[in-house]
């Protein structure tokens, strides 16, 4: 029987959805799932984790050093508890990526980054070469499996079940003082950052003029989406080049990507191949974008975009 420990990611008293995604991966591995929540003891994150489908127990590790998630302080706290498990998982977010390799080194174990599929309890698929190849890897001894979980590959488990018990442990180990949190500057822009956004709408040459980008922005604001662009739109001087999506621009993987007036050249597609759902709005039914779009609409964007803004 596998015993899987999932390390929760949370901030400001709220459990990050990446945790529920990691739990989904744990469920695919199969076994008894415990969520470890590292806190200062003053918040109800553990209770949120206790409600996740498939979780059998929650271990809350409290320590004053957990006010911020610092890998150098959290890895030592996880050393002892890890011993009782067959697997330790964390989200492949900057939180998990920072923490897990350090923990793995302390345990003298190798680690699997970015699980996208589970073949069996010790065999996983993970992307390499920026997702241009997939390797199937195996932890082929019988030691502890440590891994991070690719969020985009795992829909989060739901918050349904009656909460399981939360076991509270206060850790009193000495934590190093060599690493200190100074500040967090959350990104404050009106729109989410293109690279990190869950939804993105991009405009291409089909917009016809700089001022028509307002049509794209209006939909973006309605959706809470980031704005992107094709190279042709950038080259026309309609938007700055940091909005460019594609081979020489940003490579992004939002849940929803809307391409308006973009033909879908291979260099543009190189930037969105890992997007969840691609929506294409283009007046040319033969545009290559339709060969990869999950939802296509052959129409004039000058009509569609205002309509979307209206209806969304």
């Amino acid at each position: 029987m596998n015993k899987i420990l999932v390390i929760a990611e949370h901030a400001n008293g709220v459990l990050n959805s990446s945790t529920a995604r990691a739990v989904a991966c744990a469920a695919a591995i199969g076994g008894e799932i415990t969520v470890a929540v590292l806190t200062t003891g003053s918040c109800d994150v553990a209770a949120q984790a206790a409600g996740l489908e498939g979780v059998v127990s929650v271990a809350e590790l409290t320590n004053p050093g957990n006010a911020q998630a610092l890998a150098a302080l959290q890895a030592p706290q996880l050393l002892e508890i890890s011993a009782g498990y067959t697997h330790v998982l964390a989200p492949n977010s900057t939180f998990g990526k920072d923490l897990m390799p350090r923990l793995a080194a302390l345990l003298d174990r190798p680690m699997v980054t970015d699980i996208m599929a589970v073949q069996d309890a010790r065999t996983f698929d993970r992307p390499v070469y920026a997702g241009n190849a997939i390797t199937t890897v195996q932890v082929d001894d019988d030691g502890l499996v440590l891994a991070t979980v690719r969020g985009a590959s795992w829909p989060p488990v739901v918050q349904t079940q009656a909460p399981v018990t939360v076991e509270c442990q206060t850790s009193d180990i000495d934590l190093p003082a060599h690493t200190r949190f100074v500040a967090l500057d959350g990104e404050q822009g009106d729109r989410p950052d293109l690279q990190a956004a869950e939804k993105v709408i991009s405009g291409g040459r089909g917009l016809g003029a700089a001022e028509h980008f307002a049509l794209v922005e209006a939909v973006a604001d309605k959706l809470g989406a980031a704005v992107g662009a094709s190279r042709a739109a950038v080259d026309s001087g309609w938007v700055p080049n940091d909005l460019q999506v594609g081979q020489t621009g940003k490579i992004i993987a939002p849940d929803l990507y809307i391409a308006a007036g973009i033909s879908g050249a291979i260099q543009h597609l190189a930037g969105i191949k890992d997007a969840g759902t691609i929506v294409a709005i283009n007046k040319d039914p033969d545009a290559p974008i339709f060969e990869v779009a999950d939802i296509g609409l052959v129409a004039d964007l000058h009509e569609v975009l205002p309509a979307l803004t209206e209806m969304l």
């Binding site: 190279r231 080049n241 050249a265 291979i266 260099q267 190189a270 290559p288």
Partner: protein, 547 residues
């Protein structure tokens, strides 16, 4: 002291006053192709004390190299004694030659012209050959610097004293960015230009010294090539196939090659003479059509493209060779135009010209006399013999073939030199050409279009740099050219660099400089000769894999 005063250089104004590093060598070679590397190797073999520097615009040697390539190897024997034990990575001896005439639906075998007999020759990749030569050159102490284009020649009192390398880190407008790194001045007793076909510095100097005043105009072709990985069992390693005919009309010179390599790979390509007449014609499309011929498509179907690219080649031969030296500078290989057109081979002649050039330098320590020395060499004799074959094709395929047979029979002994015309002047106006039905088919093999093709060329340019395709007068594009020729640049460029787009200000030329694969076709074929190709930032351009 600048040689390039005849073309505008955006960066000039801002960077002229800059203090530049300077380095000096005995001999400086521009271009790490077979010609330049052979010179460098031979020089060091003959005199290890010489300082010899080779600069190359590609990010790594071989990344801009593209040829068929079936090569003759005698020049390698001349350079190295024991090279056959460890040949270049791609190395397949030719086992069989085929030559045929295509119609849209059939293939008729033709007798093999003697120039195309490839016994003892080898199929290789120019990129692999170059990488191999660079290793040998470096082992001999040659300094090879990739990622440094020669931007312009440095002249001092009428003598070429070296070159200036390109500036790095200029933005689109030509102003220095934080990363700005001025090009430097590389000086040498003699500068050897080995830039290959339509070299940009060679072009400046041929003009500056009027080196072409006694020769016929140079003529060119464009070659487009793809390397394919096929399902197992389809290839016959060592088989060399050439065709003429469809999809070209009989007024257009050109043909295909299909070379069978090992490991289930084939090299497939197409060459078209740039003296074609129809402004609507697209060499890229002709190549893609060829791949769909009923005898070719079954070979490729289900395979995948490993790499693809395009490069112009010289076709002028003997009568188009410019004077190959001027004070302080020598032209070798295809920078001068040493390719043997009927053989479609220029690697061996490039290597030989490099060897002779080195021998000349070792003996004379100067550029003077190089032109004469080359013209007395065995390679010059080889070129002289076949001088009248290619020009015959300006009268169409049939007369061309007849003439070729005649020239071959007489081994070029009939005196006289047939004339060439400049390729761009061959283009007819839209009004003079009726649109023709080329019996072209719907395509479904990759790449779907030129953008997809460029993707396989792995070309790379920082988009924030001056456009390296300088248009002397963009107004011509939207006015006269649009009317007279329908903007042929949008058709002949294999990388879709030139686009005419509708804007609110009307139709405009959009130059997607970052797509460029450095084939030089636009510099050659544009009917008004207003496109000037200059090297972009060092290391930019395609990254071919074994082409």
């Amino acid at each position: 002291m600048e040689a390039n005063n005849n073309h505008q250089n955006i960066s000039q104004a801002t960077t002229d006053e800059i203090e530049r590093d300077e380095m000096a060598f005995d001999y400086l070679i521009v271009g790490a192709g077979p010609a330049g590397l052979a010179t460098a190797i031979r020089l060091k073999q003959k005199n290890a004390d010489l300082t010899v520097c080779v600069i190359e615009k590609a990010s790594q040697p071989g990344m801009h190299s593209l040829a068929g390539a079936v090569i003759e190897t005698a020049a390698l024997d001349e350079l190295f004694s024991d090279w056959r034990q460890t040949p270049p990575d791609v190395w397949v001896p030719v086992t069989k030659d085929e030559f045929s005439l295509l119609s849209a639906s059939s293939k008729t075998p033709l007798p093999l012209p003697p120039q195309q007999r490839n016994h003892d020759n080898v199929i290789t990749s120019l990129g692999a050959l170059v990488a191999w030569l660079v290793e040998k050159a470096e082992a001999l102490g040659v300094e090879v610097y990739a990622g440094f284009p020669a931007q312009q020649a440095l002249l001092d009192e009428g003598r070429v004293v070296g070159v200036r390398t390109g500036d790095m880190g200029l933005d689109k407008q030509g102003s220095p960015k934080d990363s700005f790194q001025p090009g430097m001045d590389l000086k040498a007793k003699v500068t050897v230009l080995a830039e290959g076909c339509r070299g940009s510095v060679s072009k400046q100097l041929i003009k500056h010294f009027s080196l072409d005043k006694n020769s016929q105009p140079q003529t060119y072709g464009i070659g487009i090539k793809e390397l394919w990985q096929l399902p197992p069992g389809r290839v016959t390693p060592g088989l060399v196939q050439h065709s003429i005919g469809w999809p070209l009309d009989t007024a257009t010179y050109g043909g295909s090659f299909l070379y069978h390599l090992e490991n289930d790979q084939v090299a497939v390509g197409f060459v078209v003479g740039l003296d074609y007449q129809d402004p609507r014609f697209s060499p890229f499309e002709a190549f893609q059509q060829f791949k769909h011929h009923p005898t070719v498509k079954p070979v490729l179907e289900g395979g995948e493209i490993v790499s693809s690219g395009a490069r112009a080649l010289v076709e002028g031969g003997w009568q188009s060779l410019p004077t190959m030296d001027a004070p302080g500078v020598m032209l070798i290989g295809d920078a001068a135009g040493t390719l043997n057109v009927p053989k479609i081979k220029g690697v061996h002649t490039a290597l030989w010209s490099g060897i002779y050039a080195a021998d000349h330098l070792v003996e004379q320590a100067d550029s003077a006399g190089w032109d004469q020395a080359f013209r007395q060499s065995p390679v010059a004799k080889e070129l002289y013999q076949v001088r009248n074959i290619r020009p015959g094709f300006q009268y169409g395929l049939w007369r061309g073939l007849l003439n070729a047979a005649w020239q071959t029979l007489t081994r070029g002994l009939v005196p006289g030199v047939m004339k060439h015309h400049e390729d761009h002047s061959a283009l007819k106006r839209l009004s003079e050409m009726t649109q023709r039905d080329r019996q072209w088919v719907e395509r479904d093999l990759p790449p779907r279009d030129r953008l997809a093709s460029v993707y396989f060329a792995a070309t790379e340019h920082d988009e924030d740099q001056p456009v390296h395709l300088q248009i002397a007068d963009p107004d011509i594009c939207t006015s006269r050219c649009a009317q007279e020729y329908g903007n042929p640049c949008t058709k002949f460029c294999p990388a879709n660099v030139y686009e005419m787009i509708e804007t609110e200000q009307g139709r405009q030329l959009q130059i997607n400089a970052a797509n460029c694969v450095h084939c030089k076709t636009c510099d050659i074929k544009d009917p008004y000769q207003i496109i000037n190709w200059v090297p972009p930032e060092g290391g930019s351009g395609p990254n071919y894999r074994n082409l």
